[in-house]
């Protein structure tokens, strides 16, 4: 959101921070996997702890005939020297878990130490350490483990040391970047500035912050360790004194157990046991990472499958449209408990060839309205009432599929943030040609793209440029070109000049006016900046709290604003930075989230309020010729 004025206002969230239902669903997937992973691991730990009680034989001494099939005494039969396979399976749990835990522990301690040293102290030490990390990461780690094991022998502790020596680098790299981030958090910077010692900073602030990620990395390291130990044992490089699952498979493979029925009790059990252990760590690691990362939890889903619209779009040829865009009683809710009304029974018309300014602060519902008009509301936002007609085509409640037919063809869109609205991977000509191709063949589309780029003032030499090679003003022109390519009847421009410098702002607005004249466009110009819009637009709509509080011809409204809110907006001027109050605003704190005040929504901030404003909801009423306002004070 780029609007510089952030005011305490009725808190109608524009896009709410976290679409509630979605977070719940994602979290529950991660949680389910986490519980499953923890369950698998706990059962393995139980088996390992009570191994002597579960297995009746010693795994390391022959207790039966070689190659014995399963029997009561040997539930999984015996191997080539007559050792009990079930006992080996049960005791193998101990080996796998011990090696996994120890290796992961050593790797994390080393990795975390390196991460803290590098991330906290920076400088030359960091450069050297990170070079070392990169070096180790560049090596094929499994080959490294095999070669190290071949040279250094096969004891349990040697195996742990070798595995840890190879896998510590990844946690070091991941944790360091996290340390760098945490280090710049406000309160950590403050603590440092106030003279807290580095070790205190690290313990109190950094370690607590990176604990979840460290846990996730530990689980991940354990996951890799299980696999590495098994691979080593499978290659005959495991601890000769302790039978692990990998060792069992090594002998099974060497004795061609899969050629006979022996695979059922010799190969399958240890293989599945390994899978259970690895999967347990994998699930748990995924869950910790997912639940610890707020960024991931916040991702909203994209499309549900397209549902057919409630009402098929119809073109009523017999009815002459009064406007290019007619909105009737449109309401949008954010589905929560209770639902939040973001746009409340809004009606207006944009006449052909006219520029209609839609003005309000951030949070007024104007961006939600725009997304609804384009059929691009993301869940939990939803149109719950009213309908819209574009160019004579009834789009009903603006379902995705209905609006898709007019997007790019009859309705062009200029987004809030042109800087990021272009795909960095494609040149701009291609991106414009895509739009042109919606209504013509490829060759004609390419020609049309050059034509429109020329029209918005991009010299031919820059048509094949990539977005990053263009200035902000030029990118904005490209976006405008995309919007007008198919000569739409209506262009919706959402804060088209916000973020541009004043000179470029003027140029872009002039371009819009020019295009309006040349192509006969109607423009819905959305902005928080009333003085700017008043100079450009023909008609004005002022929105507050999801409702239209004043509307009329631009000249009339700016000459004699009838609503106190409009008067405050007109008197405001662009601020340089930071939250700001409107000049002359009544003192009053922010209103509680989701609980709009009774009466006039604006009364808590209104400098002219009277007692009646608290209980009576004002309706739009005529205050002049084609000039309406919703304020008790302006009613005649």
């Amino acid at each position: 959101m780029t609007a510089p004025t952030q005011l305490s206002t009725v808190d109608v969230p524009e896009p709410p921070a976290a679409p509630v239902s979605v977070v719940v669903r994602r979290a529950s997937l991660a949680r389910r996997l986490g519980v499953a992973g923890a369950g698998l691991l706990v059962s393995l730990v139980v088996v390992a702890a009570f191994a002597p009680l579960i297995a009746r034989h010693d795994p390391d001494v022959p207790t039966g005939v070689p190659y014995d099939p399963p029997s009561v005494s040997h539930p999984l039969g015996t191997n080539d020297v007559g050792q009990d396979l079930f006992a080996q399976l049960v005791f193998g749990t101990r080996v796998s878990l011990t090696i996994a835990t120890l290796s992961a522990l050593v790797a994390i301690v080393v990795g975390l130490t390196v991460a803290l040293l590098a991330g906290y102290h920076r400088g030359r030490l960091e450069a050297a350490l990170m070079r070392l990390v990169d070096l180790i990461l560049a090596f094929p780690f499994m080959v490294l483990v095999i070669v190290l094991a071949a040279f250094f022998g096969r004891g349990l502790l040697t195996t742990v040391a070798i595995i840890a020596a190879v896998i510590w680098a990844r946690p070091a790299r991941v944790l360091r970047s996290q340390v760098l981030k945490v280090r710049e958090y406000q309160h950590v910077v403050a603590a440092r500035a106030m003279g807290a010692s580095p070790s205190r900073c690290i313990c109190r602030h950094v370690l607590t912050r990176i604990a979840p990620l460290t846990a996730a990395q530990f689980v991940r390291a354990a996951n890799i360790s299980v696999l590495l130990e098994a691979a080593l044992s499978f290659l005959g490089l495991g601890d000769p004194n302790r039978v692990s699952w990998g060792t069992m498979l090594y002998f099974a493979n060497a004795r061609n157990a899969f050629l006979t029925d022996a695979w059922l009790w010799w190969i399958l059990p240890p293989g599945l046991a390994l899978t259970v252990a690895i999967l347990g760590f994998a699930f748990l690691g995924y869950a910790i990472e997912e639940l610890a990362d707020p960024r991931l939890a916040r991702t909203a889903p994209r499309h549900r499958r397209r549902r057919s619209p409630n009402r098929p779009p119809t073109t009523s040829a017999e009815r002459r449209p009064a406007g290019v865009l007619e909105v009737h009683e449109l309401s949008v809710d954010y589905l929560a408990d209770p639902p939040v009304r973001a746009v409340d029974r809004v009606s207006f018309t944009v006449g052909p060839g006219r520029i209609t300014g839609l003005v309000g602060e951030s949070g007024s519902g104007k961006s939600t309205l725009v997304m609804a008009l384009l059929g691009l509301l993301r869940p939990p936002g939803r149109v719950v009432g009213g309908r819209a007609v574009v160019n004579g085509r009834d789009l009903g409640r603006l379902q995705r599929a209905a609006v898709a037919q007019v997007r790019g063809r009859e309705v062009g869109f200029i987004p809030q943030n042109a800087m990021n609205a272009l795909n960095p991977a494609y040149d701009v000509h291609r991106q414009v040609a895509e739009v042109a191709a919606l209504t013509r063949d490829r060759a004609a589309a390419s020609e049309r793209a050059s034509e429109v780029l020329e029209l918005v003032g991009i010299p031919a030499a820059r048509h094949r440029s990539f977005p990053h090679e263009l200035s902000g003003g030029m990118r904005q022109r490209v976006v405008i070109a995309m919007a007008v390519t198919n000569e739409p009847a209506l262009v919706v421009a959402d804060e088209p000049v916000t973020g541009l410098d004043v000179v470029t702002q003027a140029r872009v607005l002039r371009l819009l006016l020019e295009l309006r004249d040349r192509l006969g466009l109607a423009i819905l110009l959305v902005s928080h900046d009333l003085p700017l819009v008043a100079r450009t637009a023909d008609d004005l709509l002022v929105m507050y709290g999801g409702r239209i509080v004043e509307r009329g011809e631009a000249g009339a409204v700016s000459a004699a604003p009838a609503h106190p809110y409009t008067r405050l907006l007109l008197a405001s001027f662009p601020s340089l930075r930071g939250p700001r109050r409107l000049v002359g605003e009544a003192p009053g704190g922010p209103i509680g989230v989701g609980a709009p005040p009774d009466g006039c929504l604006f009364h808590p901030r209104c400098p002219e309020r009277v007692d009646e404003c608290r209980c009576t909801v004002p309706a739009l009423a005529e205050v002049g010729e084609r000039h309406e306002a919703a304020c008790l004070l302006s009613e005649p």
């Binding site: 499978f234 290659l235 790019g408 494609y426």
Partner: protein
């Protein structure tokens, strides 16, 4: 740009040097006498101290460490990788025979796992939060948790022993064949190892593809692509084009772990690649071969990383033509 390439080359030379040094240091740091690493165990055991000294002198191991290192480097420069203890042949020759088979397996599975992993990951990301996404995610994690040698054994069990579809051992037929029949045999024998290695490496590709596309889909340009009227397929292509960037890196970096996986898988299938050679060398305590193979793999992985750095600009125009923005 030129400076960037130079710096990259410098970094890789450094990594290569580290690999060579490690290779030099390993037998010298390992417990025991160097002679044990140079001769077959049964021979080394029966030597008198005098004979041991002679062996050391013959390999220049009685020199100071810096001299040894210099000799080692100049030997490497001449392509001298010592002799295999087990085969009594130059290590370089042995490696040359085996490297092609490993390249076939590793190259093939990189290609397959990238295509399948990216397909599944992109599909999951596009429909994220749905039951299908959850199902795919869980399934891929399950497959990823199967140890590659276990998968290999299961595949042999099902497709070779039970169904008798593919031969189990080796890469070449035992009887003389030539022409198309030979090619068919080679393909037939590489199907199972290739499948095993591919299954073992889909997981990371899938996870990266999924999270890369998930984060691309939040970008403004995706919303714009939709708003400007593109079809769902076109919008998807816009986002996927950019999600490919991290994927290319993962794929080529993943080569390293694939090479390791190949060592294990080749053992299961008795496939005559480098991995099998390493396994045989481990069993026979054939340390010169082990060292040579390690060096070759390290060079291969380093080259793959280097190729990734060179190819990246072709995928990302921002790296290809960084030009100052002009008004």
């Amino acid at each position: 740009m030129g400076g960037h390439v130079l710096r990259t080359v410098g970094q890789y030379v450094l990594v290569l040097f580290a690999a060579i040094s490690l290779n030099f240091a390993l037998p010298r740091l390992a417990p025991g006498d160097a002679v044990d690493y140079l001769l077959p165990p049964e021979q080394a055991g029966s030597l008198s101290p005098e004979q041991r000294r002679q062996v050391l002198a013959q390999f220049g191991l009685d020199q100071s460490v810096p001299t040894q290192f210099r000799d080692y480097l100049s030997g490497l420069a001449r392509g001298d990788l010592l002799f295999s203890v087990r085969y009594g042949r130059p290590v370089g020759e042995l490696l040359g025979e085996r490297v092609g088979w490993s390249a076939l397996l590793v190259g093939g599975s990189v290609l397959l796992s990238t295509v399948v992993g990216a397909f599944l990951g992109f599909r999951s990301a596009w429909r994220r939060g749905t039951a299908r996404d959850a199902g795919t995610l869980t399934g891929v994690m399950l497959v990823d948790s199967l140890p590659p040698f276990f998968v290999g054994m299961l595949l042999i069990l099902v497709f070779s022993v039970q169904l008798d579809l593919f031969p189990i051992f080796g890469a070449l037929p035992t009887v003389d064949t030539s022409g198309l029949a030979l090619v068919a045999e080679v393909v037939k024998r590489s199907v199972l190892p290739l499948a095993t290695l591919t299954l073992a490496s889909i997981g990371p590709v899938y996870l990266v593809a999924r999270s890369a596309l998930v984060s691309e889909l939040q970008e403004d340009y995706v919303l714009m692509a939709e708003a400007k009227g593109l079809s769902e397929r076109q919008v998807r292509r816009h986002a996927e084009r950019n999600a490919l960037l991290p994927l290319s890196t993962v794929t080529l970096i993943g080569l390293g772990s694939l090479v390791g996986g190949a060592a294990v898988v080749e053992t299961v299938f008795s496939y005559p690649g480098l991995g099998r050679l390493i396994y045989e060398a481990v069993l026979a305590r054939d340390y010169p071969v082990l060292q040579g193979a390690f060096l070759l793999l390290a060079v291969g992985v380093i080259l793959a990383n280097f190729v990734n750095d060179l190819l990246y600009p072709l995928l990302d125009p921002r790296v290809r033509r960084p030009r100052a923005a002009a008004t």
